[in-house]
Symmetry: D2
Subunit: 266 residues, 4 copies
């Protein structure tokens, strides 16, 4: 029987601000990627998010981003040395670990946010520097990666366990990468369409491109977004469709993610 | 033979800014209280401070403050619930723990900064809320306290090990509290005067007030400041004077700090 | 025929965050108090708010607050010298003036935000320091005040034109001050109740206390809130009720606000 | 007789932090570019800088940068729409104008900071968007430009008066651009060498490249840096050398800067 995780970014408010309906999403997903105070998030929101996640059996991971609250971690910031970026990631993971400890929960994964994630996906130096410091903090942390990216390679080289992710609401190219947001059809808005695609890809063990090509990949987790108008409806549809097809939805941290090649070899 | 620690606040820069001569101070003191990014500090400065501390055998502790970079944690901010303040402290400790792990070092103590410290010293609810979350993160963390304050009491009630601190450059009242900064004679500027007082108090096991009264206290650590013009000279004088009097200067984390009363009960 | 202005705080988002439905409120109110980047707001949001206001004939004013984005200007921050607070207000007004110029509009009033407003209302030194610097920037700026506060007195002493404000959704004491938020009945949630009260008070030229007492005050403007669930409904009800009673609703900047007694007379 | 201005970036501290010896520099230079709170600066530092400048007859200009305190406006941030960048510049100019009014002084020029300056120098769309909003705020503001850049062209197209700048401590290529910092010899550290070069270039009305080539440019102002160890010594040497050669050193705002081509058309 297939097993898969549903993950969602959460705790992306700041001070009085909130983004998305975290309480509703926490009833649907199995892993929460919690913003750590750099692109969004603050200690109170982090604590509350982790507390609710614990209550509902949802796994929590760090969701570190650029130190750029104003740009929500989405501004393209170039030129920071990989080692410096890695230190900022380390800081954010540690902050969440302590907050999670205070809330009686535990951080079990890491997923990079926004432009930091894009940068690491494309730049092996950045990905490796980050991977090494994740491992220095806790080598059992599962790194959520997209197949074929530098982050996947870095996770393998560093020896971190990794969880391979697909996106519920994004179209794929024939190379298995995301269709850029500005192209028509890049983003899927209808919950039922997204849900059916996710089921097909999970059952097939492959990403399906816009052109109908299948690119086999391991699928440990499905990312659903939390900050769009149809977010909750789409997440519900994805989960219901998977479960009605007999797929078990549960946190990847308990499903035996891919042991990275690395540790051993190094 | 008497043993005492010398502690100093460090890493209190931000971005391009620096405060004090940390490199020089790290050759003199035995414990560094590292700013954690709220009143000052950032991941890069934290990493560098911890790395240097490790290199020189200096113990590191978290130095959490209010989320108030502009006010450097010195603005009086009222009304935040104790539990919320405690969560911000937790966040900061965790951030430093992870950065320290990345630098191959370990966080062994906590000392509150500025107005957050003043608030906790005067308000047992705040101190207790903070103490409980420190213990939740790591119950072996030594809490640096001033004798007679709510922080000392909270450390005892929560069962955290504590290190009792005196200040090298501050005059004391007959009650053993600090003479308010605005009163004449509140701050000692001459390195030799400060050094002699520290030696006398350490040898006597008591704080000496401006009026010549002695108030017996345990002295585990002596705070020297790092951001005044004579900071380095004063720290050197204090250390030299202590050592020439046969006092051993080393990190309190290794000297057997006071087991909190609570600890026993656990 | 009675004339009154309706004012509302706006532009209180930051980066990706938004607060309240500004577009809807701008169709109802006649004056917008625009956050200026300290407790909330940023240059893009400010520009967009002012642009929309201009388009709809809504007057704009600066809504300066504490430099405290995390606390949304609602943390109680003590001890900042009045002159320093005044400089932060000046900065914010100027920032909005330039943004307004870029958007083809003009800043015609000032209303203090949150705890900065509370502090100035209670502390004449703070209010005077702020008033003097408002006048230094532009002596024709109308200062929105609550009757009986230090801000009203400061506006008179400094010689700034002032607009006297009542709140649509708050109960009043027999002294004409707001019933503290934590007391039962302090906040009015039903649009129709609020609308009827506003009409009665505007027609009567007096604030009506919870106990039924009337306290005569000049009423130039009525504050409606923009960030509550019923905000838009309440603002619509207030405006409709006023207009159906023959009250003209238009910006106070064009209604001849109270000429302050003016430096001269005192 | 030749006339030239000396300009220097100032007020680049934040909260408790300071950068450079502004008080000393204000005795030497004739124009101060004042940081406006985005890459550095805050209302109190801005006020104090402007107050001292006024006292010493130094002209003040806005020195706007990216909203990036941590990176001091030196991180390369890509992809922000030109119009958005222009709004952030507008905000900063207005903030300084009001602070200057409160200090009894007046903002007479604008000089972009760091990476925002580099971006505008290379991208005419950005430079034009910024130039148009500077003109919307105050069309008499002098824009400090480097000859041959998009900023110079934008100033001309928009019709802003402009002041053409050379750098005291930077080597030039044969094309009249700055030798990149990482190349050997790019930065001149000896005050006397810098001072002699500046005198020669000012007298010659041309930039002198490392290879000895001369590129004729108008020179209205010479930039001296304030945040290097030899900053004050170099600024003093430059001024003394210019004056002993009979060059008059005074603010460009009073020397009749180049009327932009556009101006004529207006």
């Amino acid at each position: 029987m297939a097993i898969v995780d549903l993950n969602c970014d959460m705790g992306e408010g700041f001070g009085v601000y909130r983004l998305g309906d975290d309480a509703a999403m926490l009833d649907i997903v199995t892993s929460a990627n919690v913003a750590c105070g750099f692109h969004a998030g603050d200690p109170l929101i982090m604590f509350e998010t982790v507390r609710l996640a614990k209550e509902r059996g949802v796994a929590v991971g760090a969701h570190p981003g650029f130190l750029d609250l104003w740009g929500f971690g989405r501004r393209t910031i170039k030129g920071e040395p990989p080692g410096d970026l890695a230190k900022t990631v380390t800081y954010q993971i540690g902050a969440l670990q302590a907050v999670a400890a205070a809330a009686g929960h535990r951080v079990t994964h890491v997923k990079l946010h926004g432009e930091l994630g894009n940068l690491a996906a494309a730049d092996l130096d950045v990905a490796l520097a980050i991977g090494r410091l994740i491992a220095a903090v806790d080598p059992s942390l599962v790194w959520v990666v997209q197949a074929g990216t530098a982050v996947e390679r870095a996770a393998e080289m560093v020896g971190l366990p990794l969880a391979s992710e697909i996106f519920a609401d994004r179209a794929y190219t024939d190379e298995g990468t995301l269709v850029p947001r500005r192209q028509p059809g890049a983003v899927i808005h209808e919950p039922e369409v997204a849900a059916r695609r996710v089921r097909e890809m999970v059952e097939d063990g492959a990403v399906h491109s816009s052109n109908g090509r299948r690119i086999p990949v391991r699928i440990d987790t499905v990312c659903v977004h939390g900050d769009t108008p149809s977010a909750v409806a789409m997440a519900r549809a994805v989960r219901a469709t998977l479960e009605s097809a007999g797929v078990q939805v549960r946190p990847f941290s308990s499903t035996g993610v891919r042991a990275a090649l690395g540790g051993a070899a190094r």
